[in-house]
Symmetry: C2
Subunit: 220 residues, 2 copies
DNA sequence: CGCCTAATGTACGAACTAGTACGTTAGCTA
DNA sequence: TAGCTAACGTACTAGTTCGTACATTAGGCG
């Protein structure tokens, strides 16, 4: 019985800067993803936090900077995942398919991130442009794709004349659209692109599409 | 000398309900596309109009309803374009490629529409769901795609097991992503997917991709 | 040609919202 | 253990923003 009559605020750790910061970022991520930059409410974010609005300004400076911080952390998660890519031991076809599947899985697993990207595009990527951190992220995946493409072309398997950036765009397009636009697509066409029982269908479809494109007979 | 000393407001037509309504929709489309639903300002929309804020409430009832009306009109433009599709006289491969190109062109020509769709997805398509008009639009393009696929499969040209909705998703994905995410993509990877001198490249890429997928050798 | 209503304009308010001034305290360090 | 500072809380404000009450008029119609 250590704290029966103690004031409520002594439950849990107090004065933990890292935890407070992280908690604000967690809540803000959800709130920004839910309502957009303008739609999100600083008061609401604060209310969903163990701490107060004051802390948001203390740690981040303001709403816009908080959004930038949210974006920075969200992108760092992807960069992390990409750095753990390990597909170059596979043959080029299998490697590309595996890469596409991992991209597919990552998009599906992080719908909030997808929404943040949509929101950031509404704002014409101004926060990314203004962020030192995000400016110099690069993309570990691009290096991997580049090497797989080289290898596949050398062996004659890949006939398409694309570079890594374009192939990345192609793969991301499908994965992104499926998650980002699932609501309007569902409402208009009556099909839920993210229905669990359709997952394998679309995952395979993406791989088939990319491989078919890369290996198509171009002698005609 | 008919109007030298007359008040300024006599210039141009007065009391033109249709024109006022249409002008509000025009301005609102741009403003919503620019700033999102929450970010758009009713006062700003009114200010960019020949009329006043009062008229927005008079004709549309409120901000949300105005957004819905904007969406309805934007979607009707597409439905219109789709109804004018005329590709079924072509052989299946050419027809699909042409359809993909028209989709590509339409997305490129209507970036504001793309932004509205992104925004509507942030709001989980609630306005579409609540709109009688948008609920029963359907898509003329789907019928066309369906018939082309049938024809292509019958002749043995198309080997892929997809239906019209999935193929539509595939084509739209690429077109949508290229326009919607051009800002973040450009900022992160240093490539402008909508650069004019790359237009033909991506347009061809899309067609190649779809055709390769549909006609891929699946005997292996 | 006067009346009636759709269409329009003005002025305002209630509620919300980002941001801040000021005060407090936990807990490390000397 | 005293003191100092990073961390935190409260209460408030200035400005914004959606929406509306009220007043006005154009112009079709009987």
């Amino acid at each position: 019985m250590t704290s029966v009559e103690e004031p409520a605020h002594t439950g849990g750790r107090i004065r933990d800067a890292a935890r407070t910061r992280a908690e604000i970022l967690d809540v803000a991520t959800k709130e920004f993803a839910r309502a957009g930059l303008a739609g999100a409410r600083v008061d609401e974010i604060a209310a969903l936090t163990r701490t107060t609005k004051r802390m948001i300004y203390y740690y981040f400076g303001g709403k816009e900077q908080l959004f930038t911080a949210v974006l920075e952390r969200a992108y760092s998660v992807i960069r992390q995942a990409e750095q753990e890519l390990d597909v170059e031991h596979l043959d080029p076809v299998a490697a590309i398919r595996r890469l596409a599947e991992l991209t597919f899985d990552h998009h599906e697993a992080h719908p909030d991130f997808i929404r943040l990207v949509s929101i950031e595009n509404i704002h014409e990527a101004g926060h990314i442009a203004a962020s030192e951190q995000l400016g110099r992220i690069g993309s570990p995946a691009l290096e991997v794709i580049h090497r797989i493409l080289e290898s596949g072309r050398k062996s004659g398997l890949f006939t398409a004349d694309v570079d890594a950036v374009d192939l990345h765009a192609m793969i991301s397009s499908f994965c992104f659209f499926r998650v980002a636009n699932r609501h309007t697509f569902g409402a208009l066409f009556g099909r839920d692109l993210t229905a669990p029982d359709q997952r394998e269908h679309y995952r395979t479809m993406l791989g088939d599409m990319v491989i078919a494109y890369l290996t198509a007979d171009r002698t005609a």
